[in-house]
Every structure is written in structure tokens, then in C-alpha cells.
Symmetry: D2
Subunit: 340 residues, 4 copies
């Protein structure tokens, strides 16, 4: 890290700082400019550098501390230059194929689940998504069927062969959800639920980590690092839009995050245009955009009767619309050297 001293810093302040750093075992590199004095800090103990940077920032004679190293390691591309591929029941996520995960926002009945599962499989989806435990802004909304929902998804897997992905919201449910699900999903509201992340890190189940709606790319990678740090490297990232001042869409889908992440991390990147836009009419164009930008997969909400869906109907496609979208996605995927 680099320490920039305040113009008011005295020689005593500087001496105190240098002693402080040397006592901690760091090498220092001093540069006295005409207007600013700068101290470079070199050496071991990288793990505690963020803490020391914070501590030093509280000194009145220090203007700014600039970190040099990235605040994540294991998930970084510098640590693991090759792209990671996560394999789930034979489906490779992170390879040439753009993997489509589709299904209803909430699991409602066995019939609905099976109907959608068959329809999305026929249209080319590789993984079945569905919510059994549902976060909702209002306590009066539908919160999912719980284990009954998981059983319905497992039954649909039995019939269609599609692996299943579903959200886990509470560390106490990890064991239960893991018994049914092939991929655990961490939702946007829980991206910074570190208890949950650490426990998922301790199991070895593949996990898809959605971006927090107010999280920077760097914070998102640090959340992934929480999981990796406990030993679970089977992490998939999912861009689902961030919160901005624009209210026409439910969120602002950050398409640039896809190529940015491809440079920063080796983890696969999935895009969720359903939550990213909140409007069914925008799902297909934004899905195509995400594929063109290089995403490794898509997560799409499909409901046989969106106008009767217990949740997120406005952003759900009908099976027919989904099938049409898959044709268009396939064409875009081919244009960028991928396939669906």
C-alpha cells in the first residue's frame, strides 16, 4: 500500500509513521515531493494490510492510503489463469456451451413444475430453476412451499433429467436444500450474509452467487472469496442488475460486468435478465445482449400463466415465448463462437 501524507504532517509525524511501520515488520520506500510526501509499504503480512490501512487512515496527518493489491485472491484470475468449469450432473458451466437455467420464480404445484420443466427442456434449457424458499420485500407476500417445493423439483428432475438449482436463504436450511438441489443459489439480498456464505463454503455443493443489488464488482468477488476461503471452489457468479435511480426497469442490468468479470476472475458468469429488467418484454433482448457480451449461462423465469403466478409474473415468459427466445439466443451464441 501507499501512504500519502497530509500537507500539515510534520517531520515528527513522519518519523512516528516510519517507526510504526518498521515495528510491524514492513519495509518502507520514502518519496518526498515538492507538494506531497509519500510512503510505500513493502513486505509480508498482506492479510492484515487492509486493517492497517484502516488504522492509519484514522491518523490526522495521513491524507489517504492507497491499496495496491486486490482485496481477493483465490477467485482472482491472477491466482488461476484458466477459466474454471463447474460440472453438474454432466452439464459443464463455464465451457463453450451457454447453459440456460429456466423455470418458474416460485414452485407452486407439482403439475406446474413438471409442465414448465418439460417445456423448457424441449426448448433447450439444461437446468431447471425454481424457488422453494422465497425472499419477498413484503411479509404479506408468498414465501414458498419449503421442502414440499423441493420435492416437486426433484420429481421434475426424475422425469426430465434436468439438474436443479434453488435458493437457500438460511444457514440452517443448507443441509435440507442440499439433499435435493444440484446447485445452491445465494440471492441478491444474501450476498453479504457472511454466515451463510461461510457455511456454504464448508460444504462442497456447487453454488451460484447472485450480485448484491448495491454491490460493486469488487465486493461481489470478496463475497465469493468468503466461500472459496472455506474450500468450496464450485462457485458461479450471476449478474442480476443493480439498483440505480432509473425506475423504468426493476434493476439496471450491468452488462459491462460480464466482460469485466471475465478479466478479473476465473469463475463462470451467468446472467439473469428476468430480475435484471423486471419486464417480460425486455427479457429476450437483454438475454441476447448478455450472450453477446460473453456470459456462460442464462437464468430465465418461465411460467405457464404469468398472470396467475404467485410471484414475479411481470418478468416471466410463457413457454412459447421462451422457446422463441431460445432460437434467437442460439443465433447470437453462434455469432460469438458459442452454442446453446
Amino acid at each position: 500500500m501507499i501512504i500519502i501524507l497530509s500537507p500539515a504532517a510534520t517531520d515528527n509525524d513522519l518519523d512516528e509513521l516510519l517507526t510504526n511501520l518498521k515495528d510491524r515488520g514492513y519495509g518502507v520506500h520514502l518519496s518526498k515531493g515538492v507538494e506531497k510526501t509519500i510512503v510505500g509499504v513493502i513486505g509480508a503480512h498482506d492479510d492484515v494490510k487492509p486493517m492497517i490501512a484502516e488504522q492509519l487512515s484514522s491518523l490526522a496527518y495521513i491524507e489517504r492510503v492507497v491499496p495496491i493489491l486486490k482485496p481477493y485472491k483465490v477467485v482472482g484470475r491472477e491466482f488461476h489463469p484458466d477459466k474454471s468449469i463447474i460440472t453438474v450432473r454432466g452439464v459443464d458451466i463455464g465451457g463453450q456451451k451457454v447453459v440456460v437455467m429456466a423455470g418458474p420464480c416460485s414452485i407452486e404445484t407439482e403439475e406446474q413444475t413438471l409442465e414448465v420443466a418439460k417445456a423448457v427442456k424441449a426448448a433447450g434449457a439444461s437446468i431447471l430453476r425454481g424457488g422453494a424458499f422465497k425472499p419477498s420485500t413484503s411479509p404479506y407476500s408468498f414465501h414458498g412451499l419449503g421442502e414440499d417445493g423441493l420435492k416437486m423439483m426433484a420429481a421434475a428432475r426424475e422425469v426430465t433429467g434436468l439438474p436443479i438449482i434453488t435458493e437457500v436463504m438460511d444457514a440452517r436450511d443448507i443441509e435440507l436444500v442440499s439433499r435435493y438441489a444440484d446447485i445452491l443459489q445465494v440471492g441478491t439480498r444474501n450476498m453479504a450474509n457472511y454466515s451463510l456464505l461461510q457455511e456454504i463454503g464448508a460444504c462442497r455443493k456447487p453454488v451460484m452467487l447472485k450480485r448484491g443489488m448495491a454491490s460493486t464488482i469488487e465486493e461481489w468477488l470478496q463475497a465469493a472469496e468468503y466461500i472459496a476461503n472455506k474450500g468450496n471452489y464450485n462457485i458461479i457468479l450471476c449478474e442480476r442488475g443493480i439498483r440505480t435511480f432509473e425506475t423504468y426497469t426493476r434493476n439496471t442490468f450491468d452488462v459491462s460486468a460480464i466482460p469485466a468479470l471475465l478479466g478479473l476472475t476465473h469463475l463462470p458468469i451467468v446472467a439473469d435478465p428476468s430480475h435484471g429488467t423486471g419486464k417480460f418484454s425486455l427479457v429476450s433482448p437483454v438475454a441476447k445482449a448478455a450472450v453477446a457480451a460473453g456470459c456462460d449461462g442464462l437464468m430465465i423465469e418461465v411460467h405457464p400463466h404469468p398472470e396467475k403466478a404467485l410471484k414475479d409474473g411481470p418478468q416471466s415468459l410463457t413457454p412459447d415465448h421462451f422457446a422463441a427466445m431460445m432460437q434467437e439466443i442460439a443465433a447470437v451464441a453462434r455469432a460469438v463462437g458459442r452454442y446453446v
Copy 2:
């Protein structure tokens, strides 16, 4: 709610909608303008209206659904016109006194805790704050002492008589933390952790709910409704800044939220200028601003040696600075008819 039809809606679409609504037991109020047709929906079943609003929004012939009722009830001022006062070991929060909660970001040692507790009490604080379970963006940061930290806080309470407030991050820790704490704190990252909110709702311990850094005032009140809905009405709200494009401060402290909430809810409002600004030099002026705007309490980070704090040193005041700030706060409180 009010439904605005798309200009492309046909008479058949309208008939279908009216039948749909009548079948659900609603009265309707039809208004055909020159350019737009509008349907007012009247009647019972308010709880499911948000779901129906979502479902209808998924119909292509509907342009927009405008909700009329607020999405929260029990925490709303219309439900309970008088201000709520939460009493904790004899300290009234929500009354004439501006209640100051102060202490270190993280509990580090028994000495540090007791030293700070005595100092903030001497300066006029009414409640001791401190973190035993700490959320951190980085997995490599300090995460708190856990139960040992709680014991140190309880020991400081023993000596000083100050009630204690501390964060609970995981539903599994509620029972443990409740054994020591007088007020549970839900942090900004967990404002939308609905499992946690519901379990806190099921206990009767007073709780301080911090605003999610990307949450609107309305969503925040809905999060409070999750707790109240389970029967726990001892809720205090805490404004701690929201995430915006401005990077000079760690967050943007939303001072307008204080008077806005005083109109919308009967719950007491506390302000946290330490997290709201992230810079010790801004804590005192923003604390004064919050008191002038009408807040019922303040939460302030105090550390005997900010430059050695294990967390959040840059926003911590020394005990001396805190004592000076308390003098200034007292003057502003008097100017708005309150006292510290």
C-alpha cells in the same frame, strides 16, 4: 389499486379484466377517458393486492398498476398515531431525551471495553454499543470475539449500569446474544435477511433495525413490518447512510429520512453518523445535523486509540473528541426542544 389499460387494449381485454376482478370478489370503478381507460379496484383482501397487482402487470394489455395503500401497516403512523417509546433498563428511546449509544466498533479486550464504557458514560451516553459478531466485506478481516465479546460488554454494564446493544448476524445466535444484550442490532447487510427478521420478531427483545444501504424508506418499513408482524413491536430504526455515486464519504447519510420517518411511522429513529460518513472529522457535524432534524438517538463509534482499532478506526472518535461532541450535541438538542 388503480389499473391503467394500454392504448392497444380491446373491449374484450377490458371485459376479461373486469370478470377476473369480480371473480376475485372486488368491486370495480370504470373510467373511460379519451386517451386512457382506467379501472379502480375496491374492496377486501388487501393482503393479496400486491400479488394481484404483479399478476395483472404481466398482461400485455395493462400499461401500469398503481397501488393506493402503503405496503406496510403495523409500523405505519396511520395505524398508531402516537409516537412509540421503547424502554430499555429505564432508558426511554423515542421520548424527549436524545439517547446516545456509544462504544467501540469491535469489542477487543475487557480493558478497552471498560475504559470506553466509563468514558462515554461520563460524557453523557446512555447505552453502550460494541460488536462481538462483526460483518466484514473481506473474509480476511477481523470478525469479532463472539461470546467472549458479549461477556466483556456484560461486565462493562455491571460496572457502569449502561444497557448494551450489539449486532446479531445469524438466526442461530439470537438466543445466545439475547442472553447478554439489552437491544439486538440488525446490521445494514441483514436488513433484508427475512429469516433473521422473523425470528427476531418471534422473540420480544428490543431490536434496532439499520437501513439497508440500498433500501428505500418504504422497503425499510416493510422490513420492520416483518418483525412487527411476528409480534415484536419494540423496534427502533437506524439511518446509517445509503450507497450513492459519491465516494468522498463511505455512505451518503440521508438526513431527510429522519423527518420523513417521523411522519410515516411511530417507531423511534436513531442516526449513525459514524457509518454514515466513514470519516471521524465529519461525525460531529453530521450528528448535530441529525439531532436538529429530529432524531431520537445517536449511535457513535468511540475508541481510545482509533489508529490501533481492529475495525473502523477512520470513523471512530477518541473519548476526548466524544466528550467535546456531546457538549455540542446538547446545545443543538436544547435548540430543538430536546435534551441529551
Copy 3:
């Protein structure tokens, strides 16, 4: 518009409101619910409705006023259901062809301009972009060559046949810039410079209106309405990213705005991934995303030596990179039924 009364409104308040509205010549539609009283306002004088909505919002007994009509007309798709095509020296913008506008951020020398113009034409660009009048956050930055720059662009048009687009920042320069440019550009900082918009509306020159970095889609269309309202319908919109909390990219490119606008307006939509991302490595993937999402054109910064550019080097492509990108864009355009 629809007026929702406060729960505290009395019968006298309601009578006063109804009289007020009838005096202004409006019909009213009264709906008294159990919890809320709602007044629908029907009739002529749409132009002054926004002002009346504001006035009524200032009455304590009114909770909220909900506008029903969109705040723009002439630029709306309801007004003109067919897509508009703007033709500039034989180049159709808004048709099947994805029109690529490319060139340096700033015009620096005649050689640089001609070199880039030839290179981008050879790679398939249809229009030459370049800045002669440059806005800069810092007063100490380069501000462009002014008329000399315009002459260099005109000379490059002479040689290559490419029409030229360049920014006008000041109403006093419209006449001068119009003498050289084929399309006037209004930059993000001037989207709400209404003097400038109105004077551009009064001339008939085609204009490309960039989105204000903090503007909603609705405000952007209202800015376009300022131009159209004065009689100039030759308007092209350009999405160039909005300001959010994410700092990894210079702006957050709002890809969803492209299909959203295709539904809301008949005007052509161009995407600027250079400003939208601020990083040359992200330009090509985001350009492909924009084409996949349905944009009618692209605006790309190209500089022979980005590391020597007087402005915006970090987001500029070299001519070689641009040529490679054009190949990729062409493939994506074909995949969505367009061509470059």
C-alpha cells in the same frame, strides 16, 4: 391524473378540491373507498396538467397525485407508431443497417483525422465522429481545436465521403458547427441545457441527443421533446451509460434502455460503449451486446495512438482493434437480422 386524498382529509377539503377542478374545466370521477378517497381528473388541457399536479401536491390534504399520461408526446411511439429513419447524406439511421460512427474523441491534427477516417471507413464505419469543441471536467484539460477542428473533419469527409458528427456545446456555436457538420451532437452534460435544445429544435439539422448521466429514460424523452416541439424531428438518441455506485467502469451502460426505448419511441437508438465503459477492453463486448439488444447504431472512439491521445485514450481502440471488432459486430448483427 388521479388524486389520492390523505386519510386526514375532511369533507370540506374534498368539496374545495372538486370545486377547484370544476372551475378549471375538468370532469371528475369520485371513488370513496373504505380507507382512501380517490378523485380521477378527466378532460382537456393536458398541457397544464403537470403544473396542476404540482400545485395540488402542495395541499396538505392530498397524499399523492398520480399522472396517467406520459409526459412526452411527439417523440412517443403512440404518436408515431412507425420507426423513424433519419437520412444523412445517403446513410439511413434507424433502418436495417446498424450504422457505425467512429473516430477520435478529439480532433488533434489533419493527419490524425484523415488517418483515422480512412481506417474506420475501410473497416466498415459509415459516419466519422470527432470532437472540435470538448467538454472536460477539469479547466486544465484540452478543450478542442474549435473551427480548425471542424475544417479538418470536413477535409476528411471530402476524401472519404463519410458524413460527420460533432458536438455543439453552446447555442452560439450552432450556426458555425452546422456549416461543417452533418449531425449535431448534444453531449451528456448538456442533455438538460434547454436553451441549447430549443435552438437546435429551431434549425432542421439532424441531432444526436446523448442521455444525461443522471437522467431517467422519461426525462431523456422529455429532452428530445424539447427539440421536436420546435419542429426538428431529426432526432437520434444515444445511450452512453449512467452514473451509479459502481466505479470499475466509468459509467454503467444501461443495455435495457435500448429495447425499452424501442417500445416507447419511434426515434433511432445509438449506443456508445466507449463512454459507457471507459475501458478499451470492454468496448467490443459491450458493442456486441448493444447490437444484440437491438440498437440502430454504434458510436466508437478510435485513435491511432491511444497512449498519446489528448483525451479519452483509455477507452479508445486502435484502428486494428476497431477492424477486428467490426468483424465481430457484423456476425452479431446478422444473428439478429441486421447488417453492418
Copy 4:
């Protein structure tokens, strides 16, 4: 500035960089760490450093360029450690007195103007505000009376002795507006209208520069630098809220910006809680907050009949409310060692 090399940078890259910098006349300071190589750039030519930083950022072997110096000078507190006081017809802005500027959003009639002027003077205001040239999001809104409005303001000054402040939106109007106004106001939409700023810089009239709704504090100070750089140092800054995701208030009033600016610049800071909140019920509490935080003045919209105002009625106070607010403001001002 400090240059951090990419891990992929070769020794040749480093040599090229060092040569490049030396050729430009800079000294360099090389620090090769285990993981990162860092180059400090020392020496003259500060003005072009931002441009060079941009140019270097476009090189693939450079990871990041960190500027050390602030991007503004003349308006910075380091340049002029004493607070600046701007005197307008005997009223000192930036001294011990909190200067209140009050009046209608738009000047509508001579009677309205005079009525408000007398009322705000009686209540303790020192300066009369009012809009003759009005920016509006919609082309169909009221745009002000122009010179007639200026004459009405001047007439009210004649009677009351209050100096007047009014907005100028177009460089062509500076001469006209300056003939009547004592302080020119640059509105939020024009904060980055550099033509306007430069021309105002060339005259010597005091100017109040409102913060752009999407501008960081640093960009705002750079906008002020545009004016100062042309020789006009009579600059007052006005915080009026920024655009965020929160929609309950019209803008998010950034109260922390007030003490932040007091540290960064010597210019006086005024707060505008009317635009900052957009709701009359929040104006008084936020005004008190701003005074408690240290602002040097307030700008408040007052209208005799907000429900008939041609613009911004919902955020206007009646003269009675204004008089009551002034009492409260006076008490808070005294509490922080100021007076009204």
C-alpha cells in the same frame, strides 16, 4: 502520480515507460515489490498530469494510475487557508451570520414578488431569490417571465433593500441578468455547462454554483475552478441534493457535503432544502440540519399560495411557515455559535 504496473508487464515495458516519463521531463521513483512494480512520478508540469495519467491508462501493461494531487487548486483550502467572505450590498456570505435567501421559485407578478419580499424580509431573510429564467424538465411547463421578471425583482429590491439572486441559464443572458441581479445563480443542470461557467468567470459578479445532481464533491469543486480560473473568485457553493435510488424525496440532500466542503475549500456553502427534499413538510427540519452541520446560508422557496404556484409548489413554504421556520433556525444557529 503513481503508476502500478500490470503483473504481465515485462522489463521492456518498464524501460519504455521510464524513458517515456523521462522524455517528458519527470523524475521517477521505482519500487519493485514481490507482486507489483510501482513507479512514482515526480516533478513539474502538474497541469498536464491528468492528461498523461489518461494516456498511460490506455497502455495494456499498466494496471492503474493513482493521482496524488487534488484536481483543483484555486478553490482549495490548501491554496487559501482562510475562509472567503463574499460581500453583496453589505451582506457578508461566509461569516458568522447564516444568510437566508428566500422567495418564490418563479417570479409571477409584481404583487406576488413584492408580497413575498416584504414577508421574508420581515421574517429575517437577507436576500431575495426568484426565477426569471426557469429550467423545466418538460417543454410544456412554465419557463419564466424573462426580463419582466428581473424588473419585478429589482422593484422589490427598491422597496425592501434586499439584494437579489436569480438564475442565468445561457451565456447570452449574462449581460442582461447582471444588469439586475446582485448574485448570478448557476443551476444544477448547468453545473457542467463549461461555456456558461467560463463566461461567468470572465465577469466579476458574485455567483452561486449549485451542485450538479449527479456530481461528486470533487467534480463540483472542479466546476468552481472553471469560474475561478477566469478570475472570478466571488463563488458561493450550494448543496441542493443528489440523485439516488430513493424516490420518497425529490433528491437526497447530502448533509455531509457541508462539513466536507468546509475542510476542502475556502468558499462559502449554502444549503437548499427546498430542492433537496421536494416536500414542504421536510424543508424546516432539513434546514435546521444544514445549519447544525455548519452551512453559511440557506436558500428557501416561499410562495404566498403554494397551491397556485406556477412551479415547485409542493416544496414551497407559505410566509407564515417561513416565519416559524426562521425562529427555529435562529435557535439552532445560536447553538452552533452562529446567528441568523
